[in-house]
Symmetry: D3
Subunit: 245 residues, 6 copies
């Protein structure tokens, strides 16, 4: 089984961290390839960032299917262009939001999504509505750290613990979702501290749960519904240039 | 008051019809300018179509704001790129979906959206969820006619009446929303036939209600919330090329 | 286009303020006439107040239709008797709630309604449910000022800013709705202060958005659905006295 | 325990039937008094009918409280003026809708409301939304018989069975609610036929469940919440004429 | 009318208190019999406690029906085994949750459930969802007292008042539900204090409202829907041992 | 990784079929052990069946944790005793419902659950509500075949195709969920026929998706939230007999 991870930013700064994380959750028969954009934003913190990342995401996805990959993970919590790519390839395509939320919904009934900045909260709320699970969101707090600062794991952990405790104590959150795939390598650390504080909430990492979920889809031979995401008919040659363009 | 209508397709086939429609609903002090894409799809019947239309929609929107327009209507029921454009201009930006649905919600409690083809139903359902009004949708039937065939007004009217009657009689729809801005010039005709059949449902045209709604926003000096659609910070010169691109 | 504004209180104290507000949002071809009750409450702060205002609202509405008005705005946030009047006249009838909420829903995804007193909060919540948008309400705080005190614009502005900031910071409100049509002439002032405080939320005035919305309905030749609000059949002469009374 | 039943129509045609029905569900220590309007509509099939019945409902309710009644049942499925009366008396006040629906919700998870005519369906849907249980409604069919024809028990039973079977078989209804207090004396008959047809759904009569529910409220010494229905302050003497009128 | 109360714990410590409470709300023609488990937990504070109580609840319920009881109240807020027992007896079976919540929903639009401990909050939330009324829950606070300590009425009252005031002031609760049938004999005391504090919320006791509700079901000759709770077919002799066991 | 499958019936009739199915979706490093009840029902088609299966499910689960298994799949669509078992073991426990629904929610927006018999529909609806995704269910049709007849694959396939087509064409289902873990080995066959009929809906098998999901949880080192499912404190020796029993 071959999985393509598209890291939808024009930098390879995150690749090593991602590689280490996902290695821990892949099965022995699964190989993973990570690819960045040639051009695009350095982080995705707005709808316009996702728009700018679009052309290269589409290009890489089409190439991945041609190269025989079995599934694609667009490695960003905000599911950027996931809906678009699902129309143009047949292999399963997922982002971080769906994987993290479906996992949370399996093991808890209410959960909070912790975002980096206020500016992405409304975007995440829209996704929760699209998946039909907005009623299960306990709260959507922020740590107020831009993506570029997330490599400071100590501050990141401290802020995540603070807002998690508030979410659990005041909004009845039963699980915590890290709302950015850049919050790498801290889920278990935060989970441990919460348990020590008497609030044993699972802490869910969107990237590692995505790799787990995608393997399950591939092994089950399941992909996006063609009644939700109709195949775009104008792709005779998978060139990215439809007939009517 | 100056309104820019972006018709997000690479053809001016629809412009004359649009012009005639919107003239009927604009106030005396309102001028309207219609513009098409230089390149893009000929119709928007998928998420990928909306993706392809993206770059030119963004370009025209930025230019419109620079030219002093007071508001933008992206003339398509599916609100293509409305969320993205709202982040990069300050003037109000709306699409057909929001205008039609908010109008329907004002004058009825349950309503059906009539789409052209099965392939767009899930897209329209996602929008209904994003606006938080999915519970008010009675049904989402289709007339099974692609956009390019909508100029056959007779067939169009006949099909719209058929599915409207079913929606009213079997799903308790109280109003009918034309789910494509290409269904021009038939709303009142369908409304009249429904009334004659004993089912007096309002029939809502997304383009004309959008022009009405946009005038109201402009006169009220209201625009998209900057807490929902944060301004993209990397636009020092409105060039469409952010600093980090 | 002629619009009748029914101010559903037995005093003309508010008329001049209303007149000034709505003048700013009407089109050149629109004339507006304001009328008060002969007898009724001095403010509407309960369901019983709305009940007491009922007979005169009904009388004025029937007269307005006979006199050739094109639409009616019942100038109160709580939509008093809007449902009843919609059954007995054919011209469009709206109140403040629907107009403000549909406008908020167009430009933001979550919003707070600021009420005058605790006693009206449950009434406003019922309306939110009736319109099917209760899930979009971030919070419903109060400023704890009765309607009669709202002419103190300074205190009013101060209180509105305070509760708006709390709604934005703690309940994720993205827009603010003034939950009383007596909160005149302060929306833009509050909006400006919120922006200066780093919380750029649109502030929506129910009266001015109602006039904007009503113009849109009239220009679109749309009125309340007769499948939601069936015409009362016992009105042979629009006398207000049905046959079986 | 003394219960006042207000039959909100200007006729005593229904009183004998009501008396017989409610006698069967009252406890030995409960006495019931039935009263009609002096003036008002002959049936309630619209919001305007409920409006016309308002003044006499208010008058009788205030008198009932003064006379020492322990609770009031406004004997109509549509809860006419229940919200208004709850503000002006302290004893518990209920209508048919709440009683029937809360009973259905106790013994089934999805249920259909059978209405007399299309014209009241939207009114009943609004009530379902106000009670926050619209998601539990399986369907809202009609028997297409006006209230005045309901005394034809045979046709009534036949029509109720027909639409009930459709609701059960096609919309997954698990219980049937008679959506008019004028559908007297048929609930058990319909229930029996449904069981014989292999569809053993409980059939709920709004009037008898209301008397049962009201007794429970009175014995529990519970009344409408004063945080939902604030007491109208202008009633120093319960005259029905507030100070500011 | 004969009602069986199953107190689903292996102790009769609560029986006297229950007896006194329910005597106050039963009609003269109603007799009540209270029975405990032979073996099982001493309190129900988890799903596993409810599981352990299961066999004896089932046994007592089957015996009660054979002995001619008209209805069963399983005297615990968490509705333990109510769904299971509804499948195997024909007489109406209710628990504390449904009765309290349906009563609250009748007299208020939003309400808070006060639980004993954090560990039961998620269980109560699941019940709210099953009844389809989760959207009406204002909040679910806890008093942090295990069931065994509830006999300290003074501390209990004090804690209930504290969390009730917070629920009313900060989450817009309009009524208070005591979320444990062990919180006996304090509802009216708490209600009185809340009123004195200017927050006149009804306080609902699940056990007394259950007895009121059950009497209403019995007088109305209504029981659980057989389309929700199909009769278990393998009970030829009501022995509790189905054929295929 | 070692997974325990509890087949909650007192027969090993299904084991071989289950074994073949799950082998196809397990990773090379995963071993699976299947175990039946010593005593219990032969199929689970009611809440009482799940009750009867309870003691042995609990016993096997406790033993499995002691034996070092990494996760438990209770192999039944109705999640029997999943909530109870989650309180008493620390390893992740899932049933068929959650796995199938979370997978469907990842790849489609609306989906239908096909049940064996009418009698389980309300049970499945309760689960959908508990997971907070009832709004995403398009419909819940039945094939009207008891579990014991499901080995007739030809009839099973035919019936599944029939009801799936109706769900897709009339209720806008975009994916199909097999609502019984006994519908083995037909998912891909049904999916293929639906695609040939022009309705390319994914068909989701609850057992194979459960194995996929459970592997993901185990690799992610995630288990049920202890804030949703508190650990039962009275298990000093995992004997199944708590201290207070």
């Amino acid at each position: 089984m071959k999985i393509k991870i598209i890291v939808p930013v024009a930098t390879d700064d995150f690749n090593q961290g991602i590689k280490e994380e996902v290695e821990r959750v892949k099965a022995p028969d699964c190989t993973i390839n990570i690819e960045n954009l040639n051009s695009g934003p350095l982080s995705i913190e707005s709808r316009y960032d996702a728009f700018l990342a679009g052309p290269d995401i589409v290009r890489i996805a089409l190439e991945a299917e041609n190269q025989g990959f079995d599934g694609i993970f667009i490695d960003c919590f905000g599911d950027p262009q996931v809906s678009v790519v699902r129309e143009i390839v047949n292999i399963p395509v997922i982002g971080g939001f769906g994987a993290a939320l479906m996992t949370a919904n399996m093991i808890a009934r209410k959960y909070s999504i912790i975002s980096v900045l206020d500016r992405v909260v409304a975007m995440n709320m829209s996704l929760a509505r699209e998946y039909g699970i907005a009623g299960n969101i306990a709260s959507m707090p922020v740590i107020d750290m831009p993506v570029k600062d997330l490599k400071d794991k100590e501050t990141l952990t401290k802020r995540l613990v603070e807002v998690s405790l508030t979410a659990i104590e005041q909004q009845d959150a039963q699980a915590i979702i890290l709302g950015c795939t850049g919050m790498m390598d801290v889920a278990k650390r935060v989970e441990k501290i919460l348990a020590e504080e008497g609030k044993p909430a699972p802490v869910i990492d969107p990237a590692t749960t995505a790799i787990g979920f995608l393997q399950s889809l591939i092994r089950n031979n399941l992909s996006q519904s063609r009644l939700t995401y109709y195949k775009h008919e104008d792709f005779p040659d998978n060139s990215g240039k439809p007939k009517n363009f």
